[in-house]
Symmetry: C2
Subunit: 414 residues, 2 copies
């Protein structure tokens, strides 16, 4: 399918469409920059920028200079033109953010979820929180333009459904996009949560200069999001980046997918907790046993607590998990040659030493086949990474599909 | 850099450019199809198709129907409009093909090379063969429009040079593109040989329906070419697909890159020959010893001969090399989720059983994270794969850079 297929748009619409997308990706930008990059003439660019300004979808920012011939300004998307909701459904919690069109977070909410309940109770919980957010008096006059939700699963992006989710009973091909669209009357997009995070880092982080980026989420599970030439790469089936299920030689831990030795069964949050519990039963860590007796649970958080308080067994677990994850990423780096690898997800809470273990693992495998500028960095957005990524994906889709132009069309055509 | 940056092309040029590129990628196609896919109006498409037909760069193919209103035909690039030379420089041989603009091979030549000599004698050998090809009376009136050369090395595509080639003394940053451009007076493109092969399979094989494709060349060395959304993916540094240097756990063979346990040190043609020689010295294969005493050398060819004649040690070497290559590809498939993996290179000469070992290795690692339609196939083009790929890349670049339009411009502007 071509960029403009199906619409049979007249050439005027093609031009305004191209110009708006450039402003979205590169804005704030001058009209001269738009001419240079789009190939359109000065008069076409000028005419269409005026239409976009009149519609309210684009605004001028600052005045670069002013002389007798007029002023020169930059154009950008008007943040106040509408609202976007970004949702990150993770394995154990759900983050929802209400944002403006510049991806500024106006309201944010994080609460625990139990995915074993199936989709209906989760969606009820999400409706409740969205409804509360959009009824706030301060924003209730702004139009909700779109919703994007990231799921901890492979996704059929065209259909807007999860496919074969590992630990989400009832979600396989459940029509979550259709349901949300019907309820909120706006376009809805469903993607893998790590894909949206990767796009968020690319679009809004300091990383926009890097067109090829790998985002790795290390949390309850492990997955990667891939940005190729500034776009999310989903693969042929929607499975791309599924690194948690790459088998590691010499390992026999059973993964919840049923296979043996998957990365996720060795280095994820669940795997770390399982290893830590072994240390409690075999007496490998006295401190962890005490913590367990007090709290009644062992998660990555308790392992961090014990490691921070001098427990060498727990420090060792964290080191090994970081190293093995890093080594696998390093092999992928040889194949994919990204300019940057960004690490996010709950396990980054282990702190800087965990990131060092990962970085050392990556470099041990990938040297010398990397650029001197190659970096391994922690996510810029912490637990808001999924929400920001979803919002950025939503804005991108609304612009590139032409949906947002249709909403603002009445103003443009006057 | 945008698609049209730098040219400041007027809008007419932008339209003809877009239409020509659609004809190149999708042709033969109707004018209606061009309207639908480009978003341009019927009159714009019609006007520009007439210009392209008048220039001789595009021709009509067949008549779909003819009625009182006129006839309906399909448009495609005119194969006879000019010549392209494709070159594949491999580790041990160099293939050169003279093709027309439809990538039909008019002349083809393969001869051994010794890369240890450095670039000058290799280029002299290439000049000699090209000069002979283009002086053939039958084609000497056709214009040479471009040359593309694949190198067995990472490449700085923008500069047109090899970077850090493992076994090509003197080639690092040697300005091979500039030298060829100066000599032949046409645009020249330099890429990694496996990248061009991947593009050739994508563009001309039965695989054009698959936008995401992995091509693996298993020969003296091992490398992969990556097609993402129909385009060569080179990575940030030009190193992408460098899978021969992914380290395999539990292996300690020294690679010529200096690292231990690289795939190339275990499963490539050189590695197979080295393992076979060990069987000769330790008495593991009587037949191989006899072959060696007769021929004085052991390469993958002799290993195949012995395996075909019942030598179990040699069969075992081939099985292990195929399996370990397949298992690594299978892990990459989980990350990259291509719709197809194509195997090319000299080791495919081992025959169908070798391909089965690879396929079994791939599936053992990648199931169930693959599409039901996923396939592992052998290259369509055999030893012409590199030449065809280079020619396809050259045509693509000539069209998308606008270079070919400039050549045919005088006709178009009349």
């Amino acid at each position: 399918m071509g960029k403009h297929s199906g619409s049979e748009a007249p050439e005027e619409l093609l031009a305004i469409h191209t110009i708006l997308d450039l402003i979205r990706v590169e804005g704030p930008i001058t009209r001269s920059f738009i001419c240079e990059r789009s190939g359109y003439s000065r008069s076409t660019v000028s005419l269409n920028c005026d239409k976009l300004l009149a519609s309210g979808l684009v605004v001028e920012e600052g005045i670069i200079y002013r002389n007798e011939k007029g002023k020169r300004t930059k154009l950008k998307i008007n943040g106040n033109a509408g609202l976007i909701i970004g949702i990150e459904l993770g394995a154990t919690s759900c983050e929802i953010g209400l944002c403006d069109l510049s991806a500024k977070i106006l309201d944010f909410n994080s609460s625990p979820v139990d995915l074993s309940q199936g989709p209906d109770p989760i969606l009820a919980q999400i409706y409740h929180r969205i409804d509360k957010m959009i009824s706030l008096p301060s924003i209730s006059k702004m139009k909700l333009l779109g919703i994007c939700m990231g799921l901890p699963s492979s996704v059929d992006y065209q259909r807007g459904t999860a496919i074969y989710p590992a630990f989400m009973p009832g979600w396989h091909q459940y029509p979550v996009r259709e349901i949300l669209q019907a309820r909120y009357g706006c376009p809805v997009f469903i993607d893998n949560e790590v894909n949206t995070m990767a796009l968020g880092e690319y679009s809004l982080g300091t990383e926009r200069k890097y067109k090829n980026l790998l985002f790795v989420k290390a949390g309850t599970g492990i997955g990667a999001g891939i940005i190729v030439n500034g776009e999310i790469y989903r693969g042929q089936t929607g499975f791309a980046g599924n690194i948690g299920h790459i088998q590691m030689e010499g390992h026999n831990e059973i993964c919840q997918c049923g296979k043996k030795g998957c990365l996720e069964a060795i280095a994820s949050g669940s795997a770390i907790a399982r290893r830590a519990k072994q240390f409690i039963s075999n007496g490998g860590s006295q401190l962890l046993r005490e913590v367990y007796e007090k709290t009644g649970e062992i998660t990555a958080r308790e392992v961090k607590y014990a490691a921070d308080h001098g427990d060498t067994a727990c420090s060792q677990i964290i080191r090994e998990a970081g190293t093995i994850l890093g080594e696998l990423i390093g092999r992928i780096v040889i194949f994919f040659d990204p300019s940057i690898v960004i690490i996010g997800g709950g396990l980054t809470g282990f702190g800087p030493s965990y990131l060092s273990f990962i970085r050392d693992g990556v470099l041990s495998q990938s040297k010398p086949w990397i650029n001197p500028d190659f970096e391994v960095k922690e996510s810029t957005f912490g637990n808001k990474s999924g929400v920001i990524g979803s919002v950025m994906l939503c804005i991108k889709e609304l612009v590139s599909s032409g949906a947002i132009l249709r909403v603002f069309m009445s103003q443009i055509q006057k």
